[in-house]
Symmetry: C2
Subunit: 143 residues, 2 copies
């Protein structure tokens, strides 16, 4: 059934890592939600996982390619990697923090082109846009 879950277990096993209650819980949280900051993660797990462990687990998740770090403005958040969710970027509302994923083939090819022009071999890239969503634009006009 749950390809996500199988995939998760496989990655852990492949890397010789145990499936622990803590790792499973963090994975579940990331599966259900928009990108989360370390703060949001530690608050969501409350006292069920020690803060130090949250940091260590997210670090191994990064190393094994389960999650990736994305920068929203100049802070960063954690989200499931391309092993689970297709490559994409984000639009973030400066007012209500709404996050909308962007998935545009034209953008991707344009990025590669830019690297080529500068004789760079592109490995990764980030595109983040901040602005106001439709709802918040309306609210701002009222206020």
């Amino acid at each position: 059934m749950s390809t996500f879950q199988d995939n998760f277990i496989n990655i852990l096993k492949t890397n010789g890592l145990s499936i622990t209650r803590q790792r499973q819980l963090l994975f579940d949280l990331l599966q259900d939600q928009d990108p989360l900051s370390m703060n949001e993660l530690t608050e969501l797990v409350g006292t069920t996982i020690d803060r130090a462990s949250v940091y260590r687990i997210i670090a191994t998740f990064e190393e094994t390619g389960i999650v990736r770090r994305i920068s929203i403005g100049w802070k960063f958040k954690i989200e499931l990697s391309e092993a689970f969710v297709a490559h994409h970027h984000h639009l973030t509302c400066l007012s209500c923090q709404l996050v909308v994923p962007i998935n545009q083939e034209k953008l991707e090819s344009f990025i590669s082109e830019l690297a080529d022009i500068n004789n760079f071999q592109p490995i990764q890239h980030q595109v983040e846009i901040q602005g106001y969503c439709q709802r918040c634009q309306a609210n701002r006009n009222i206020a």
Copy 2:
């Protein structure tokens, strides 16, 4: 002569801020170098400027539009604002840290388009590409 220097002084005066040794030194550093992290800045100035002052000065530089924060990967760095250098993005070499500015009108209009499609009013955006520069690509083939 130095338009940069004049512009800097003007912005400070316009905002009723003094021209101090510390502010001048930080501005000079940012003028000479690629984007710098807060850490790099505090290390470059060593004991000549207190850490608290570096933070305060960069904060007022941001407020008055002398510098802006950019995200390189998921960290951030400081660079001169558009009052000194045209709006641009960066290509960063993962091996030698070379930073190459990108300035592409097509990219800018593409970004606005993406926001529009999603009914967002775009305010700001970041585009960062990491890869290997020509020289480092060559070195990697040898090794």
